[in-house]
């Protein structure tokens, strides 16, 4: 076997957090490598757009509007994937709740709890629902999408950073517990990802400092070895490796995809 096109041939992949950025890129990357894709997010309109693109690649797409914080939603997603696509081999936990950019002192633990409800408990909810389906298929691969914010800690992102760090350790526990079932669990920790959110942030910084957005980009990209900020597609390449059979002896690990901004 050679090349990328058949790395996930015959596999079914669930991707949570479908939107125009990372979720879309992950879904299309999986589909291009031969997987059928189960698309999970709360907003159905976002799912159908990506589903059309997956189908244009010749793969099947299953849209399941899902709030990962809801056990019923997660159970329904798995039921439909089992019934309509035959089971689940891959789960990419990409859904996340953004931080409201408020300090711990001003926001307090309740603000953090809301972020943890999605990033930790929602992710674990969906993961727990998916495990039996993977076990029936004889194994599987799970990837948690983490963040550079766990490596380089900034103010006003406490709930986000701490929740993603919790997930990193949870992934290691799951790797230990699920190893005997043939299920691998790894984490990919991306740095800044290009897209509307980052553009908004760069525009804001540029306006505050009276410089151009390109100057902000150059400055921030200049902090890493390769002077580059990732597109979602580039991050999806690392995720593809972890969920493919190529990573069959890798579990419980974290790979930082950040152009050399932080070394792990």
């Amino acid at each position: 076997m050679s090349g990328l096109d058949d790395l996930l041939a015959g596999k079914v992949a669930v991707v949570s957090g479908i939107g125009p950025g990372m979720g879309r890129a992950l879904s299309l990357r999986m589909a291009r490598s031969g997987a059928d894709v189960v698309l999970a997010a709360r907003t159905e309109a976002k799912l159908t757009e990506v589903a059309a693109e997956v189908e244009a690649l010749g793969r099947r797409a299953l849209c399941v509007p899902t709030d990962i914080a809801s056990p019923e939603d997660c159970a329904r997603l798995v039921e439909r994937a089992d019934a309509e696509l035959g089971g689940i081999d891959v789960l990419v936990n990409n859904a996340f709740e953004e931080d409201p950019f408020i300090s711990f002192e001003d926001g307090g633990p309740d603000v953090w709890r809301k972020v943890f409800d999605t990033n930790v408990f929602g992710t674990l909810q969906l993961t727990q629902a998916v495990i039996p389906s993977m076990q029936r298929r004889g194994g599987g691969a799970i990837v948690m999408i983490s963040t550079l914010s766990t490596r380089i800690v900034n103010p006003l992102l406490g709930g986000y950073a701490a929740s993603k760090r919790a997930l990193m350790t949870a992934a290691q526990t799951l790797a230990l517990e699920l190893g005997p079932s043939g299920i691998r669990v790894n984490t990919v920790a991306p740095g800044h990802i290009r897209g509307p959110s980052l553009e908004w942030y760069f525009d804001k910084l540029a306006a505050e400092r009276g410089i151009t957005a390109q100057e902000v980009y150059d400055e921030i990209a200049g902090l890493n070895c390769l002077h580059h900020l990732h597109t979602p597609e580039e991050v999806a390449g690392a995720v593809l490796f972890f969920v493919s059979d190529r990573a069959r002896a890798i579990t419980g690990q974290t790979l930082d995809v950040n152009a050399g901004r932080y070394f792990h």
Binding site: S2, G3, L4, Q172, A175, L176, E177, L178, G179, P180, G182, R184, N224, C225, L226, H227, H228, H230, E234, G237, A238, L240, F241, R246, A247, R248, A249, I250, T251, G252, Q253, T254, L255, D256, V257, N258, A259, G260, F263, H264
Partner: protein
């Protein structure tokens, strides 16, 4: 995934070096095979060619800086470029505790593992730069993760490499050269089989029992094979990892987490 690329692999013997060369060739790379023993290189080259790939044996002792320069120049002139360098040549531990060892033994291990790898990398740099960038992978070791008595020379040399990789990632990033470590755990093959047999004999227990003790610590319940580890090296070599540098990826069936 590596069509049209030229890869150099040092330390091509019966184990990981061979598996890596075969995996790179499977993805379309032309592979230059480096090690001291020419007969082994010819065998692996024949295997690659039998599979429809291209290989170039270049007998090289990485301890000799002149031989490293010559090897890089031979690859450059015969194959036109270097896109990928895999430093897998190594000298194993002397299995002597520090107080019973002498620094000459440590120095010999460092000469291969640190300076040999750095010499070859240095020699390959002009070619990697000429091609507009590339990927350098250093094979590291579980000895840096779980410290065992009697492996100080080997463990410390590999630990130096972990940091050297990060320094090189920082310095060579401007040339778009990526530098990463792959950190294997146990790899089932000649070295580990030999170690398991010696351990079993020393303790007067069956070989299977020693193997079971190892697999009991691995969540996947299986000792990874050279082919499993080679896939992580191929990943770092190819464009899926185009923007990953300075990182270490552990391939160990989950025995420990990094």
């Amino acid at each position: 995934m590596l069509e049209g690329r030229v890869a150099v692999v040092s330390g091509v013997g019966p184990g990981l070096g061979r598996a890596t060369a075969l995996a790179l060739a499977r993805e379309g790379a032309t592979v230059a095979l480096l090690a001291r023993t020419e007969s082994t290189l010819r065998e692996v080259a024949a295997e690659i060619e039998a599979g429809g790939g291209r290989a170039l044996p270049v007998p090289t002792n990485v301890v000799d800086a002149e031989q490293c320069r010559r090897a890089a120049d031979v690859v450059g002139s015969e194959l036109g470029r270097i896109d990928v360098l895999v430093n897998s040549a190594f000298r194993g531990p002397s299995f002597r505790r520090f107080e019973e060892s002498d620094l000459e033994r440590w120095r010999k291990v460092f000469d291969v593992n640190v300076f040999g790898s750095l010499q070859l990398t240095h020699a390959a740099l002009p070619y990697l730069k000429d091609g507009g960038g590339g990927s350098v992978v250093f094979v590291n070791s579980m000895s840096t993760r779980t410290i065992r008595a009697g492996e100080g020379d080997y463990a410390a040399s590999k630990a130096a490499l972990l940091t050297a990789v990060q320094v090189l990632a920082k310095e060579l990033g401007t040339y778009q050269i990526r530098v990463n470590s792959v950190v294997p755990g146990w790899i089932w093959g000649g070295n580990v089989e030999g170690w398991v047999e010696r351990e079993a004999a020393a303790r007067g227990v069956p070989v299977d029992e020693v193997v079971r003790e190892i697999t009991a610590r691995i969540p996947q319940g299986r000792i990874p094979r050279p082919e499993d580890v080679a896939e992580a090296i191929v990943f770092f070599a190819c464009d899926l990892a185009r923007w990953i540098t300075g990182q270490a990826l552990d391939v160990n069936g989950g025995e420990w987490f990094h």
